[in-house]
């Protein structure tokens, strides 16, 4: 008897929630309290008692530790506590994969994926270290003025743009799509603050090739998602939303330090994306709507190429705003406003938006969104991506 080793169709997402989103450092509440609020709200969205939650899955060394959450929330029993290694938002789909794996293998019944951030309480991402000395990997870059995330990734994007003659307008299209969609999403911090081509072109450089609007926000807040076995999917208020596939990882040598990744000009999905499609049993053309993590717009371009939505040589033609706008674009992209214009919740906001599209509950709803993809944290390692599907996919 062969055992089918897949996550396809094994779990369902039955509740999602986020706290109010704040500009970085402006949360009136501590980070752990934000995490509690997000978990409770996600349980309420699913119509379940928090006591039933028996697992937590997170990433990026989230500080809201599972046992502490379980005790604070009065859950009946803790069965799994899963942390995905790696920084940034590379784990925003892997945390779903790990939660799903726990459920699919009978380790847990109801797992919450969460991410909470309060940078006023714990310090800011986009700043260099205020220390006298630096050792280890940082010693080989910080003294040369290379210390922020934008600086860590700019040279990958520059090399990719050079190799494939990619123009700045491709990056601009990603920024414009996020801002366009945020204008319909009251949760978005850039709601009521539209961006057009001229605004983008006039914006200052952060580090070439990134203008200000190519870079994600930094925000405070928390988000959570509730997963249960697929056979319970129809017992909840929302339409069924099944996980079709979820994968993580990176190619050989991706973690080589001092910018020695042998496949440098990539978003780290060259080996990951094919595994996602194989598990989900779909092709790029089947994807109805895409959430693709914008730490920096150039990472979105490479991640989408690696997921097969266009060839590198087609980027300048494909990356146009009209292709990315819901509901009628060829591939509606970042329909909540994403990290750029909704909020930077290390990508869990994008994962939630992918679910809302399947539920038919997005503020930029794509009609009949049966296959909904989320790509997490391009250019870090490990990265991850996942696909959710409607009842029609099962």
């Amino acid at each position: 008897m062969s055992i089918e080793r897949t996550l396809r169709g094994k779990v369902a997402v039955v509740g999602v929630a986020e706290t109010e989103y704040y500009k970085w450092g402006q949360s009136p509440e501590p980070e752990f309290k934000l995490a509690l609020r997000a978990v409770l709200a996600a349980c309420a969205d699913a119509g379940i008692s928090p006591a039933q939650v028996d697992g937590f899955s997170s990433y990026s060394n989230d500080r809201s530790e599972a046992s502490h959450l379980a005790a604070a929330l009065g859950t009946d029993e803790l069965r799994v506590a899963v942390m995905q290694w790696g920084g940034g938002g590379g784990g925003a789909a892997a945390a779903v994969a790990n939660a799903a794996a726990a459920i699919a293998t009978g380790q847990a019944e109801c797992v919450v994926v969460l991410r909470a951030l309060a940078q006023g309480q714990f310090g800011r991402f986009g700043q260099g270290p205020r220390v006298a000395t630096v050792s280890g990997n940082g010693a080989h870059s910080v003294p040369y003025g290379l210390m922020s995330a934008a600086q860590m990734f700019a040279m990958r994007v520059t090399r990719f743009m050079h190799d494939h003659d990619v123009h700045q307008n491709a990056l601009r299209a990603v920024a414009l799509a996020s801002y366009r969609h945020a204008q319909n999403n009251p949760r978005a911090l850039m709601y009521g603050r539209p961006l057009d081509e001229a605004d983008y072109d006039a914006s200052r450089w952060i580090v070439e090739p990134f203008h200000l609007f190519d870079c994600c926000q930094e925000n405070d807040g928390a988000a959570a998602m509730v997963l249960v076995p697929a056979d319970r999917a129809k017992d909840f208020p929302h339409r069924p939303c099944y996980l079709m596939g979820a994968v993580s990882g990176s190619h050989r040598g991706a973690g080589a330090s001092v910018h020695n990744d042998p496949t440098y000009a990539t978003a780290s999905f060259t080996t990951v994306a094919p595994r996602l499609y194989e598990m989900a049993g779909v092709r790029p053309a089947d994807v109805d709507v895409l959430q693709s993590y914008e730490n920096f717009t150039g990472g979105v371009v490479m991640a989408m190429v690696e997921h097969g939505f266009c060839a590198p040589e087609e980027v300048n033609q494909f990356f146009r705003l009209e292709n990315f706008v819901a509901p009628g674009g060829r591939l509606p992209l970042n329909t909540s406003g994403g990290n750029l214009a909704e909020a930077y919740m290390h990508g869990l906001g994008l994962t939630i938006e992918a679910v809302r599209q399947v539920w038919g509950e997005s503020t930029n709803q794509v009609p009949d969104a049966d296959v909904s993809m989320m790509i997490a944290g391009p250019m870090v390692t490990p990265v991850s991506s996942c696909i959710f599907g409607s009842q029609a996919t099962q």
């Binding site: 986009g126 700043q127 260099g128 270290p129 205020r130 220390v131 006298a132 000395t133 630096v134 050792s135 280890g136 990997n137 940082g138 010693a139 080989h140 870059s141 910080v142 003294p143 040369y144 003025g145 290379l146 210390m147 922020s148 934008a150 600086q151 700019a154 040279m155 990958r156 520059t158 090399r159 050079h162 200052r204 450089w205 952060i206 580090v207 070439e208 040598g253 080589a256 330090s257 001092v258 910018h259 020695n260 440098y264 000009a265």
Partner: protein, 146 residues
Amino acid sequence: MSNYLHSGLPSPVAAGDGLDRQFWDGLREEQLRLQRCRSCRGWQWGPEFCCHHCRSFEVGYEATAAEGTIYSHQRVWHPVHPALADQGPYVIVLVELPMAGNVRIVGNLLGDPRQPLQIGAPVTGVFEHHNDHEPAFTLLHWKGRD
């Protein structure tokens, strides 16, 4: 001669595990020393305890020429450290070293920070000593080569 970047950034020190001490000691002596496997003769950088080609732990350091080509580059405009608040734009290059197995190293590109930047351009190393620090250290920068 003034340094390329304003002073006040964190100073590099060798890692406590000793892994990159020979690299930093080499720069003090104006020599670029990188890791090379004694078993398979493969080069590697950044430093690791074992060879990622053959997994041998017999990894040593060898001197190589500070000559390479620009693999990628970035011109930084927004300062993320107080020491750079009045710096203005500066250029970081990722230099590929053909004589050391094409490993790469990060440095600054000397000269006008607004100069055109070209992937593939040949560059040669320039050692920048910071003798007024305790401990003193040396950085390796790059300049265009005809």
